[in-house]
Amino acid sequence: MSSLAAQNSAREAAPAAGAAPGTTQGPPPRRRVAFVPTLVLLLGAVYCLLPVAWVVMAATKSGKELFSTLTLLPGTGFADNLADLTAYRDGIYWQWMGNSALYAGLGALLSTAVSAVSGYALAVYRFRGRETVFNILLAGVLMPPVILAIPQYLLLAKADLTDSYASVLLPLVLSPYGVYLGRIYATAAVPADVVEAGRMDGAGEWRIFARIGLPMMVPGLVTIFLFQFVAIWNNFLLPYIMLSDDEKFPMTLGLFTLLAQGNSQPALYTLVITGSLLAIVPLIALFLVIQRFWSLDLLSGAVKS
């Protein structure tokens, strides 16, 4: 694998690169490019882009071309594949896409709201049980989804809520990691004296949060929203357990069932491949657009001081 190769080459080459400035005592030439690190990163990038490049090319192949030509070269069937995919079961693919957008969009929005208000409360107020509440919520991160998902299914079945949009949305609204990030961002972004000033001006606690605290937390909240959006968009286990009606399936589950059927009809492979390509476009586009005014580093809870 290329990542392994990359590691080896770096290990051999790095001392050599390091020796150069040490032997020549003068100031090292400023403009020189660090060749080895750049190469290692490029190899990593190629490895990460390879399946994406493949799916872009494979989606342009007609069914016959897919099995007979090198799939890293463009084919001629993209328009047909797209039409076939749209025609498949009266456009159920676009229904899945819409469902994914609904689950991820609404779910992330609700989740961000809960994370914001909880994180703000944990950061701004000192109250009894604060650390206990925080630690217990955080422990939720460690709970394996399966120990949650199956009893969640059984409990929701008792409330007659399985196989519904709510059954996929509700269990994901509370994100322990979101609350954790919310607290970090609120601590960094909302100074205590600003809250105090709000109180002096006679504003209520909710008003201070909504009018003063919330706007200050926006960059952090965008991060929580993105994190949750990706988490829900990528989720498979929960909808797999909760849903049986394929009209309610998200993209991931829909493509999986399509592939499972493709096992008996390889003609469906072209649909799966085209569908996969279209499914990854929205998130890639989202990250490309958003990285202009938002930093990836925020995702790991980094806060500029």
Binding site: T38, V52, P144, A197, N263, L288
Partner: protein, 328 residues
């Protein structure tokens, strides 16, 4: 930041009126005291409903079983009764669950070190001086994070599949032998590769973020002392990002032991992935395939406990080691 200067300005202004502020706070003290509880109310309710209750229910179910009287026909012939720990002893002596656990441990032994090793390597390379194209490579390596595990498994699955893979096409044209990646030992590599591909970028960002938070002065001193970039990386950077390495390890262990979507997605492409390949798949199979929610619940509890023991065990070892190092 401009925000900070504004705030200090406000603070100074506020302290000038401190006596009035105090009386004001006292007047609204009740609402201030109640506010955090009100703000946390939604999170706590959701936590009780979707975390505490299901966990409690799973534990309850794991201690129950269905008792069948007679032929099991008619109403009242099947009743749920307490069964103590028998579901647990049955699960622990179930060879399929044990084999699944061993498979996942083997898989994790490949995924976690390679993924985090590459993530650390890429983060260090990004943090090197005079390195080029960083914004492109950083985004490209991070990109798989945005791709669902199911679709990642689909894409790689096709790349492993001889009839459509470009690699097999080239191997075929070159007349070279074509290994079967979807069976036996290579299957582990094939599955691990999907997880490594999907997880390296996110971990790289976490490590890179903590690398960049190291003050530049630390390097300047080392450079004046004649340290090479490699020495700086090994002696300064890696020890200083050790806490974030521990954290990424911790979460990677948890995620790896939960593997479900990727092997499930590969199933339609190969007969080598059974319905019980990973412990989680076995739980799913027992709960919904065999309709035995009681033993599924017991297995789920065992997996959860094993995950917590392994991940916290790792955390303890890591902390003990770092304390030792401090003492030295």
């Amino acid at each position: 930041m401009s925000g900070t200067t504004m705030n200090t300005g406000k603070a100074a202004h506020g302290s000038g009126r401190a006596p009035r502020a105090r009386s004001r706070t006292r007047a609204t003290g009740g609402s201030v005291r109640r506010a955090p509880y009100a703000f946390l109310f939604p999170a706590v309710v959701l936590f009780l409903l979707f975390f505490v209750l299901p966990i409690g229910y799973a534990v309850y179910l794991s201690l129950r079983k269905v008792e069948v009287k007679g032929l099991g026909l008619g109403s009242g012939a099947r009743s749920e009764v307490w069964t103590g720990l028998s579901n647990y002893t049955a699960a622990l002596s179930d060879s399929e669950l044990v084999n699944g656990a061993l498979r996942v441990l083997g898989y994790g032994a490949i995924v976690v070190p390679v993924m985090l090793g590459s993530a650390l390597l890429f983060a260090l390379m990004l943090d090197t001086e005079r390195v080029r194209l960083t914004s492109f490579t950083r985004l490209a390596i991070f990109l798989p994070y945005a791709i669902p595990g199911v679709i990642a498994a689909l894409l790689w699955g096709f790349l492993y599949l001889p009839s459509v893979s470009p690699f097999y096409f080239l191997l075929d044209k070159a007349g070279l032998p074509q290994p079967d990646l979807l069976d036996g030992g290579p299957l582990f590599i094939a599955l691990s590769n999907i997880a490594i591909w999907g997880g390296t970028g996110f971990n790289m960002i976490v490590i890179y973020t903590s690398l960049r938070s190291i003050p530049v002065e630390v390097y300047e001193a080392a450079k004046l002392d004649g340290c090479s970039p490699l020495q700086i990386a090994l002696r300064i950077k890696i020890p200083m990002v050790a806490p974030s390495l521990v954290l990424t390890f911790f979460f990677s262990i948890i995620a790896t032991l939960q593997v479900f979507a990727e092997p499930t997605t590969l199933r339609p492409l190969t007969n080598s992935v059974s319905t019980t390949w990973s412990p989680l798949m076995k739980v799913y199979q027992d709960a919904f395939g065999n309709n035995d929610i009681y033993s599924a619940a017991a297995q789920a509890v065992i997996i959860a406990v094993a995950t917590l023991v392994l991940s916290f065990g790792f955390l303890r070892v890591a902390n003990a080691r770092s304390k030792q190092e401090e003492a030295r």
